[in-house]
């Protein structure tokens, strides 16, 4: 064999080896439980296609002045606020204002209900009117929301105790809101006086994911749609800047994002931590589980989920009373935030915790210690725990 043939054979072998070793060169995928994004298990192929379209619209579509951004806005894409579908960073904190009493309309004459604190070049952003109470909201995680929407109103009302009939110090009331005109009730909805139970948002002011999504396009990005054609800058109607189809795709994506998966559930300290969680009555508001009813999406039907929330409003004390509100909520009332995915918050918040409604808590412990009102007793019980029990509880919460 000539040298040339040997050289050629070596070159071919090198190429073949390189191509056949391709898969071993790809970085390993993170464990499914370490990720918040991804579809719910069991979607059909057509549902996965719809999920993918929504995924692209949610995570990849960036609005520019040419495509409808602003002129005043808070963020220029869904993904800017919800990186990896997880909790957001103070960089995209929202400020809501204009309503200081329950069951009153937000005062749009002063710029409410939301501050658009950024503007495209050449425009001036909105500024907060002086002396007006406001609430800051860090963006929540968006995973598992389809399961929460699938729950019936009755399942939510089952945990309500407005008069504290069981005398445990925990009440829990729904936020009844006036739904938008495009809201289509389902048989499982139980309106009261034409108002419906809100279940999404820090004050539970959005009745469903379409309401939440349309509001985010409009108030967060200044992008109008046929659902809400009013430009937040001028207060006048304008041509739709995002299609109905895109909004429907995003809503479907949010419907079918998987629920966060608990990690280390079998760890003895995590198990002990859950026992502590139950014993100091955190679970009265952070209700561990629900079972979804039959849904129009099979993958969401009849599933036991672990959101650790009752989706109800609770008095959280004066320390968390910002003086502003939404819907029928009092200014000191907040919806119990789901705790699922809590341990993964730093993975989407730039390596740190920014907890509570406005990100003021830099750790889970600090967040617990900021609880007041109906949660005061549980908070005090937490402070009184032994170090071992405290650490077990915190480890359990980080496992969610």
């Amino acid at each position: 064999m000539t040298t040339r043939k040997i050289q050629s054979a070596c070159a071919v072998l090198l190429l073949v080896a390189a191509i056949y070793s391709c898969d071993s060169l790809i970085p390993e995928a993170p464990a499914e439980s370490d990720l918040l994004d991804g579809p719910t298990e069991g979607l059909s192929t057509s549902e996965q296609s719809r999920f993918l379209k929504g995924d692209i619209a949610f995570n990849d579509e960036v609005f520019t002045p040419e495509s409808g951004l602003g002129p005043v806005f808070v963020a220029n894409s869904c993904g800017s606020c919800h990186a990896g579908d997880g909790k957001g960073h103070p960089f995209t904190t929202l400020t809501r204002f204009g309503q200081t009493q329950p069951n009153t309309a937000p005062d749009i004459s002063i710029g409410g209900p939301q501050l658009q604190n950024r503007a495209i070049p050449g425009f001036e952003p909105e500024t907060m009117p002086s002396g007006v109470p406001s609430m800051d909201f860090t963006p929540p995680a968006v995973t598992g929301l389809g399961f929460l929407e699938a729950l019936t109103d009755q399942q939510i009302l089952d945990n309500a105790d407005p008069n504290d009939d069981d005398s445990d110090g925990i009440s829990g009331v729904p936020n009844y809101i006036n739904p938008p005109s495009y809201f289509i009730p389902k048989p499982s909805h139980q309106p009261v006086g034409g108002q419906y139970i809100g279940r999404f948002g820090k004050k539970a002011a959005a009745v469903d994911l379409l309401h939440q999504t349309v509001g985010a396009y409009n108030q967060d990005m200044g992008v109008t749609s046929t659902f809400n054609p009013i430009d937040p800058h001028t207060g006048l109607s304008t041509d739709p800047e995002v299609s109905d189809q895109t909004i429907r795709d995003v809503v479907f994506y949010l419907h079918t994002l998987k629920a966060p998966i608990q990690r280390d559930a079998d760890d003895s300290e995590v198990i002990r931590g859950k026992e502590v969680f139950m014993s100091i009555n955190c679970s009265s508001c952070h209700v561990p589980s629900f079972t979804t009813p039959q849904s129009d999406i099979d993958a969401l039907s009849n599933k036991t989920i672990f959101p650790y929330s009752d989706l109800l409003l609770h008095d959280m004390g004066s320390g968390l009373d910002d003086g502003a509100t939404e819907g029928s909520a009092e200014t000191f009332e907040w919806r119990t935030p789901p705790l699922w995915g809590l341990g993964l918050a730093p993975e989407s918040q730039g390596g740190e915790f920014f907890l509570m409604h406005d990100g003021r808590a830099k750790s889970i412990q600090e967040a617990i210690e900021l609880h007041g009102g109906e949660a005061q007793q549980s908070r005090d019980d937490f402070v009184a725990l032994s170090d071992a029990d405290k650490q077990a509880l915190l480890k359990f919460l980080r496992s969610l």
């Binding site: 060169l25 790809i26 960073h89």
Partner: protein, 407 residues
Amino acid sequence: MKKLIITLFIGLLSQQLIAQVDQSLLKDDRSDSLENAMNMDALSNRVYATSSSPVSIGGYLEADYKYIGEDGLTDGHSFRIPRVTLFITSSISSRIKFMSEFEFEEGGEEIAIEFAAMDVNFHPLLNLRGGVVVNPIGAFNQNHDGPKWEFVDRPIAMTQMLPATWSNVGFGLYGKMYQKDWAFGYEAYLTNGFDNSIVTNTKNRTFLPASKDNKERFEESSNGEPLFTGKIAVRNQNIGELGLSYMCGIYNTHEDDGLILDKPRRLDVFAVDFNTELPLSDTYIVGEWAWVFVDVPNTFTQQYGEKQSGGFLDIVQPVIDKPMFGFDDAVFNVALRLESVDWNVGTFNETGGNIGDEIWAVVPGISFRPTYQTVFRLNYRYQEQTDILGNPPAKTSGIEIGFATYF
């Protein structure tokens, strides 16, 4: 600025008058030996298939195969022809030359005039170039031909931060001088420039290449303000070449139809580049680093950063330099590229924490050059990219195999 333009015109006019009086006095001493060639000569020292006639035609082709994955997900096997480029050069007279480069990217989806200029040589230190000129920012922007590089991908910092290949309509001067082992060169151009899209684009970051999508920049300036690009470079035959370049101008459309739309906003870019060949080992080292400063409205989102920096370092070591596979001048190299970009240097207003939006990559590879004009390349790429919040990085790796050849 007006003074500069007037000076350029006067210089041009006076030299043209001289040329019309006695063209025989003009001697073509433009061409350099390869030893004297600098980065700035990359566009004029190209390989041409036909060079004996007044019109020379050449070009290059790049093709590659990739298998790249990110965090366990891959789109599988992918074959591409990232670009086919055609050069056409014509000697109009001994001292007037037309040069051009037409690029067909992504299978012809995009056809671009990257370079189409007339060069008039008055003196080695005074040459006029006008037309579609390649702005001399950094070295890669001008010296970007695929067959010259041992890596399948172009440097990220030079193509995703700086906008290589960045060319515009305009004109300017360049020249070179020699002193023993030393060569000195300069370039200075005024061209059309950038536009609003560098801070309002779907990349969600300050992105200079966004302006390349605006084909109208070949017809008119976006704001009536010229972009200045200048470079000085010095080369020692025994040491290597060092270049310093600067590009600046107003990028935004701040006035239209007599109406004030915004204040004029500046763009400033600094770059340093170098290359050398170590005498004992023949190791070739080339690198470039650039800094971008953009006046972004402070009422806009911090997604679009005011400062950027990034660059690359290539180390190429010939390991076999002898006839192989029947090619007499074949060379087999091992190579390594290190590259990094920070698209948003700064801290968040809200938290004071560091803004992410960074990438770094390590790209080891091997290359085989059967001739000087053709290169086969096999690279392994590993890179980590963080989002603007600095969340855990997306890890990307895989292999890239390709070839590039002049024709």
